[in-house]
Amino acid sequence: MSEQQTVTQLLQAWRRGDREALDKLTPLVYDELRRLAERAMRGERPDHTLQPTALVHEAYVRLVEANVEWKDRVHFMATAATMMRRILVDHAKSKGRAKRGGGAAKLTLEEAVLVSSEPSEDLVLLDEALSRLADQDERKARVIELKYFGGLNYDETAEALDISASTVDRELRMAKAWLYRELQ
C-alpha cells in the first residue's frame, strides 16, 4: 500500500471513531512535516518568509490521496496544525537554550535550569499563553492553533470544531485580544 493510501485510510478510520487510527496517523504526519520543514528550509530562499501553514498544505498534498472527502481533509489539517505548533515550539526552545549556553560551551546547572524555565523566544511565550488560554477556554485556543499553525480558513475551522463560521470569527477575535494582553 502506498503511503498515500495508508494515510487516507487511517483518516477515514479515525473519522469513524477509531482512536487507534489517530495514534498511527500522528507519527506519519509529524515525520513528514519535519522532513518538509528541513527540506524547505535548507533550500536557498533567504528573503522568503517561510509560512508553516504552507508546509501543512504541502504535507497534505503529499500524504493524502486526491479524491478524499473534504471533511477528512479538514481533520488532517487540524491534526497537522497541532504538530506544526509542536515542531516550531520545540525548535524555539532549543534555540533559546543554545543561545544562552553559547553553542557547545559548557553550561552551568543554573543556566540550564534558567533556560528551560524562561525561554526567551516569542513563540515559546505565545505557546505558553496559548496553553493557559486552553485551560480557560479550550475552543478559543484551538481556533488560534488551526488558523496560525495549520492555515485552516473559517469554513475549515468551523467544520473541524463543529461550530458555525461566525462563531469562529467571534472566538478568534477575543482569543487574539486575550493573548495579546497576556503577552504584554
Binding site: K176, W178, Q184
Partner: protein, 980 residues
C-alpha cells in the same frame, strides 16, 4: 476564572467590540453596574483588540524562519562542537562513540565523544540530559573518567565529551595479569570507592559491568559511563524501560532493573556483586539463554546462583571477550589465572567470600549491603582476617575468628576474657563520645536559637521600618544570611539549613526547601564523614522533599541509606529511626507497591508500641499512614479504627490545631466514604477544609488534596456541578504547584474525566482520560495502579458509548494488572469481574458474562461481606444478565437483595438504588407479579428521572423495563405514556 464569569466576559466583549469605540463606555457602564473588576477586564481586552494586529502570525513566521536558518544538517561533517573527529570507536544502544581532539588544542589531547541519538527528539529528554550532565561533570574522582564537556550539535543531538581512557576491561586485565584473589579484591575495592563517591553525590551508575571499568597501564581502574543510562530516562527516577534493560548486558542487571522497578544505589551494589563473582570465579552467577523471551527476568529474579566456591569447580562456556570465540572455562584455567591450584582456590572462596558475594547478590534490594561502602568494608575486614558482616554475627563465630587471628598466642578461655575487656573498653569510649556529643549538641542548639531569634527581631517594627515582615521573608533572609555569617561554623550552618529547609517544607515551598537540604547534606558529610547520624538526618530531609516532588526512586534510596545509618547509630526503635521507616513505607506505596508499604508500616507500628511522651506523635503518624494504606487495600474497618485512634492521640498530644489532625481526618473521611456513609464523609471533609484554611492558609498544598477528596464525595452523591467546579480548581492549583508532569496532575485529569463522564460528556471524558493515561504511563510505567485505574475508567466510558467489546477487552487488561499488583483475591479484582460481566452482557456474550459475574459476586461476598455495597452492585450485574435471558426465577432474589442492601447502606435517593428497583420490577414482571413490579418500577424510575440526565443509558434501560411491564400486562397505552 470561573466558567460563568468567563462567559459573561465574553458576551460583554463581543457586544462592546461590535459598537463604535465612543459608544462603548456608555454600554459598559450600564452592563457592568458596579462590578468594576469585570469592567476593567473587558476594557483591557478591548484595548488589546485594537492593538493586536498580526502579532501571532509574526511570532509564528519568525520561529519558522529561524528553524530554516538552523537546519544545517551535514551528515558528512567530521566535527562535533569544537571537536575534530578522528575515528569511530563504536556504536552503542544510545548512539555512536568517537575518538576526537579539540580542534583548537595544540597538545591534541584525545577525548571520547558520545553522541546521543536515542530520544533526542524529545524536549523533556534533552532538558533532563542537560541537568544531569551537569551533575556528572561535577564528579571528580581519580577512578572515574572525567566528563569534560558536552553540548548539542547544530542539528540538535546532545553529546558528552569524556576523558579518553587507554586501558583494558577489568575482567581481561585481571586474567591477563594473573592477579591473585587478594589482588583482585584490592582492585575491586578501588572500584567500590569510585561508585561510593558517586552515590555520595546522588549519582547511580546503573550499568556496572567489566566493559565499563577499564584498568589503565598503571593498574588503576577508571569507571566509564557514569549515570549515562539514566540520562536516557525521560524522567529521572522513573523505572528503566524494558528496551533499556535490553540495552544493558542482562547478566549484570539487578532483579529490580529487569522488572522495570526503580533503580537505586542498591542496584549498583548488586551489579558490583556480579562483577566480583566473575572476578573471583571466572564464571557468571547465571547462565542466560538470550533468545528466550522472559528468560532473563525469570533467571535473574528467581534462580539462586551457585556459591562462588562451587562455581570454580565447574566447566562452562562463556561469551567472547573483545572479539574472539566463546571461551571455555575449566577449574584449571580459572585457577591458573589466579596463580593457585583448583583446590586452593575453592578453599579461599568457601565461607566468608561466598557469603560476601551472595549478600551483594540478594534479590531484595533491602537485604543487600546497605551501601557500597559497607560492601567494600566487609571485603576489607576479610582481607584483614577480621569478622565479616555477611554472616550472622553470633558469639561463636566471633570467637572462632578471634582465636584464629591470635591462634599462636592464646587459649580459648583467655580469648573470652580479652573479648570482654575489649567490649567494655568500647562502651566506655562510646559513653565519653556521647557526652562530648551532648555538649556539642547543646552549644549548637544555642547558636541556632540565637541566629533565629536575631532573625525574628527584624520583624520588630522599629527594625523593619514599619513594613510588615512575613514569615516567608524572614526565612528568605535567613537562607541568605547563613552563607555570609557562619562561614567558620559549619555545624551550625548545616543545622540551620535543615531548620529553614524544613520550615519551607511545612509552608509548602518545596523548591526553596530542596537546595537547602541538598547543601545541608553536603556540609554534614564534610564535617562528619559519611558514617554519621547527622548525615542520616539530612538524607531523610532531602528524601522527603524529593518524595513530595515525585522523585520516588531517588527518595527511596536515600531513605534506605538513612535508615541503615540510624539503625547503626541510634538506640533500637528510636522515634527518629521509626520516622524514616515510616517514610520508606510511604515511598513504597507511592511507587505502586501497596502491600509492600503496608508490611513496612505494620513493622513500624509494632516497633512503636514502646514509645512514650512526645515520641508518641510518631506512633500517631504511623497509625494514620497505615490507616490510609488499608483503605487502598480495602480493609476499611481496620482503617477507620486506626485513624480514629490516631486523631484522638494527636488531639491529646498536640491540641486540635496540629497539621496532622487535618491529614488524618481526610483519611477518615475516605474510610467512611468507602463504607457508603456519604453524608458523614462529606461533613468530615468540609469540617476539615475549614480547619485547614484556618490553620494552614488557603495556599497550602494539603488544602488542594482535601478539595479533591471533597469533590470525590460530592461526585458519589451525584452533586456534579459543585464537584466539577472544585475539581477544576484542584487541577489548576496542582499545575501551579508542580508543573504539568506530576502524579497528582494525572490523578486530577482522571477525576475530571470521571466527572465529565457522569454528566454524559463522553468526548471530553475521553480526552481527559487519555491525558491521564499518557501521563501515568510516562511517570510510572505500565504496571502501576494508576494505569489500572485509567484503563478501568476508560472501559466504563467505552461501554457507555456502546463499544462493549472494546470495553471488555480493556477490563480484561485491568484484571490482569490488578491481579499482579494486588493479588488474585482483592476488592478491586472482584469489581473488575463485575464490570467485565456487565460489558459482556451488553455485548450479548451471556455465558462468559455469567461466569465473570459469578466469580466477582462470590469474591465480593467473601472479601467485602454479603451486605456490602459492592456485593449489591455485583448482585445487580448478575441479576441483570439472568433477566436478559429470561431466567427471572434466579434474577429476582439477586435484584431484591441488591435493593435491600442499597436502601440500607447508601444515601436516600441514590440512583443505583433506583436502578436496582427497576431490575427487581423487571424480574417480578417476568414472573407475572405485575402489581409488585409496578410499585418497584415507579419508585425506581422516579429516582432515575431525577438523578440521571435524559438519554443516559441507565435511564433508558429503566424506561424499557417499565414499558415492558405494561406490554406484558396488556396496557400498551400506559407504556407509551411513560416519560423519557
Amino acid at each position: 476564572m470561573k466558567g460563568e464569569r468567563w462567559k459573561r466576559l465574553q458576551d460583554l466583549f463581543e457586544q462592546a467590540s461590535g459598537l463604535a469605540p465612543e459608544k462603548r463606555a456608555v454600554y459598559l457602564t450600564e452592563a457592568c453596574g458596579d462590578d468594576t473588576q469585570l469592567r476593567e477586564e473587558v476594557e483591557s481586552l478591548l484595548s488589546a483588540d485594537a492593538e493586536a494586529g498580526s502579532f501571532i502570525g509574526e511570532a509564528v513566521g519568525d520561529a519558522a524562519q529561524s528553524l530554516a536558518a538552523s537546519v544545517t544538517l551535514d551528515e558528512g561533517s567530521r566535527r562535533i562542537g569544537a571537536y575534530q573527529v578522528e575515528s569511530e570507536l563504536g556504536t552503542g544502544g544510545m548512539g555512536k562513540v568517537f575518538l576526537a581532539v579539540r580542534a583548537d588544542d595544540e597538545y591534541r589531547k584525545q577525548v571520547a565523544i558520545k553522541l546521543i541519538r536515542w530520544g533526542a527528539d524529545d524536549d523533556e529528554v534533552r532538558r533532563r540530559f542537560l541537568a544531569e550532565r551537569q551533575i556528572l561533570a561535577n564528579l571528580d574522582h581519580p577512578y572515574i573518567a572525567r566528563l569534560l564537556d558536552g553540548g548539542t550539535t547544530d542539528d540538535g543531538l546532545p553529546y558528552v565529551v569524556m576523558e579518553h581512557i587507554d586501558g583494558e576491561p577489568i575482567d581481561s586485565y585481571c586474567d591477563n595479569h594473573e592477579l591473585t584473589t587478594k589482588e583482585r579484591l584490592q582492585l575491586f575495592r578501588r572500584v567500590c570507592e569510585a561508585v561510593q563517591y558517586a552515590h555520595g553525590n546522588l549519582v547511580v551508575h546503573r550499568d556496572v559491568k567489566p566493559g565499563n571499568i577499564l584498568v589503565a597501564g598503571d593498574g588503576s581502574p577508571k569507571l566509564l559511563d557514569f549515570g549515562i543510562a539514566k540520562l536516557l530516562d525521560s524522567e529521572s527516577g522513573v523505572p528503566v524501560t524494558r528496551t533499556q534493560v535490553r540495552l544493558m548486558t542482562p547478566e549484570y542487571a539487578s532483579p529490580e532493573q529487569v522488572k522495570g522497578e526503580p533503580v537505586t544505589t542498591a542496584s549498583d551494589v548488586y551489579s558490583l556483586g556480579v562483577l566480583l563473582y566473575e572476578l573471583l570465579t571466572g564464571h557468571r552467577p547465571y547462565r542466560i539463554k538470550r533468545d528466550a523471551p522472559g528468560e532473563v527476568e525469570r533467571v535473574i529474579c528467581t534462580e539462586e546462583p551457585d556459591k562462588p566456591s562451587t562455581a570454580v569447580s565447574q566447566e562452562d562456556e562463556l561469551p567472547p571477550r573483545n572479539g574472539g570465540g566463546p571461551r571455555k572455562v575449566t577449574p584449571e584455567s580459572v585457577s591458573r589465572s589466579r596463580r593457585v591450584t583448583p583446590d586452593r582456590l575453592r578453599k579461599q572462596l568457601a565461607g566468608d567470600l561466598d557469603n560476601i558475594v551472595l549478600m551483594a547478590l540478594r534479590k531484595e534490594p533491602i537485604r543487600r549491603y546497605a551501601s557500597v561502602a559497607q560492601f567494600s568494608d566487609d571485603i576489607r575486614r576479610y582481607l584483614e582476617g577480621r569478622t565479616v558482616q555477611a554472616r550472622k554475627d553470633t558469639w561463636g563465630y566471633r570467637t572462632s575468628k578471634f582465636v584464629r587471628r591470635h591462634k599462636a598466642a592464646i587459649t580459648a578461655g583467655a580469648a573470652i576474657i580479652v573479648a570482654i575487656a575489649g567490649l567494655t573498653g568500647f562502651y566506655l569510649n562510646r559513653l565519653a563520645h556521647e557526652r562530648d556529643n551532648a555538649r556539642q549538641e547543646a552549644a549548637k542548639a544555642e547558636q541556632v536559637a540565637g541566629f533565629l531569634t536575631e532573625l525574628f527581631e527584624v520583624s520588630d517594627p522599629g527594625e523593619s521600618r514599619g513594613n510588615e515582615v512575613t514569615a516567608r521573608e524572614l526565612l528568605d533572609r535567613g537562607a541568605e544570611r547563613i552563607d555570609d555569617e557562619l562561614v567558620d561554623q559549619p555545624e551550625v550552618r548545616a543545622a540551620l539549613m535543615g531548620v529553614i529547609g524544613r520550615t519551607y517544607e511545612s509552608l509548602g515551598l518545596y523548591d526553596e526547601a530542596l537546595p537547602l537540604h541538598e547543601r545541608a547534606l553536603t556540609v554534614n558529610r564534610e564535617i562528619y564523614g559519611d558514617d554519621h547520624v547527622e548525615v542520616a538526618k539530612s538524607m531523610h530531609d532531602l528524601a522527603s522533599i524529593l518524595r513530595i516532588k515525585g522523585e520516588y526512586a531517588q527518595a527511596e534510596s536515600l531513605y534506605i541509606a538513612s535508615l541503615a545509618l540510624k539503625r547503626e547509630h541510634l538506640p533500637e526503635n528510636d522515634a527518629s529511626t521509626l520516622g524514616t521507616l515510616n517514610a520508606t513505607g510511604l515511598v513504597r506505596e507511592e511507587q505502586g507497591d501497596v502491600q509492600g508499604g503496608i508490611a513496612i508500616l505494620r513493622e513500624a507500628l509494632a516497633a512503636s508500641q514502646d514509645l512514650e511522651g512526645e515520641d508518641l506523635e510518631t506512633k500517631a503518624v504511623i497509625m494514620s499512614n497505615l490507616g490510609s494504606f488499608l483503605i487502598r487495600s480495602g480493609e476499611y474497618e481496620e482503617a477507620e479504627q486506626l485513624l480514629r485512634e490516631s486523631i484522638a492521640l494527636r488531639r491529646e498530644l498536640q491540641g486540635d490545631d496540629h497539621p496532622g489532625v487535618g491529614i488524618t481526618m481526610s483519611h477518615l473521611a475516605r474510610a467512611v466514604n468507602r463504607q457508603g456513609r456519604f453524608d458523614e464523609a462529606e461533613a468530615i471533609h468540609r469540617e476539615q477544609l475549614e480547619w485547614g484554611r484556618r490553620v494552614l492558609g488557603d495556599d497550602h498544598p494539603n488544602i488542594t488534596t482535601w478539595m479533591n477528596n471533597l469533590a470525590t464525595v460530592l461526585k458519589e452523591k451525584g452533586e456534579y456541578a459543585e464537584a466539577e467546579m472544585i475539581q477544576r480548581q484542584v487541577l489548576e492549583r496542582y499545575r501551579a504547584k508542580f508543573g504539568d508532569e506530576h502524579p497528582l496532575i494525572g490523578m486530577s485529569y482522571n477525576n475530571l474525566a470521571n466527572l465529565r463522564h457522569d454528566q454524559g460528556d463522553f468526548e471530553e471524558a475521553e480526552y481527559y482520560h487519555n491525558l491521564s493515561l499518557e501521563l501515568n504511563r510516562k511517570l510510572h510505567g505500565e504496571k502501576h495502579y494508576s494505569v489500572a485505574d485509567n484503563l478501568n475508567n476508560i472501559a466504563a466510558l467505552l461501554a457507555d458509548k456502546g463499544e462493549n467489546a472494546r470495553a471488555a477487552e480493556y477490563q480484561r487488561q485491568v484484571i490482569e494488572l490488578d491481579v499482579e499488583l494486588l493479588g488474585a483475591e482483592h476488592e478491586y479484582v472482584a469489581m473488575d469481574y463485575c464490570n467485565l460481566s456487565s460489558y459482556l452482557t451488553d455485548d450479548g456474550q451471556y455465558p462468559d458474562a455469567e461466569e465473570a459475574a459469578r466469580k466477582g459476586y462470590a469474591m465480593n461476598v467473601q472479601i467485602m461481606g454479603p451486605d456490602s455495597p459492592n456485593t449489591a452492585t455485583c448482585g445487580y450485574v448478575l441479576g441483570r444478565m439472568l433477566a436478559k435471558v429470561g431466567r427471572y426465577e434466579e434474577a429476582e432474589p439477586l435484584a431484591r437483595e441488591s435493593v435491600r442492601i442499597r436502601l440500607e447502606k447508601l444515601p436516600e435517593g441514590y440512583w443505583g438504588t433506583g436502578l436496582s428497583q427497576t431490575l427487581w420490577g423487571e424480574a417480578l414482571a417476568g414472573l407475572g407479579r405485575y402489581e409488585e413490579a409496578e410499585h418497584q418500577l415507579e419508585t425506581g424510575y422516579a429516582i432515575l428521572l431525577e438523578k440521571r440526565i435524559e438519554g443516559d443509558r441507565y435511564r433508558v434501560e429503566a424506561r424499557e423495563r417499565f414499558a415492558m411491564l405494561y406490554e406484558r400486562w396488556g396496557k400498551p397505552d400506559e407504556a407509551a405514556a411513560l416519560p423519557y
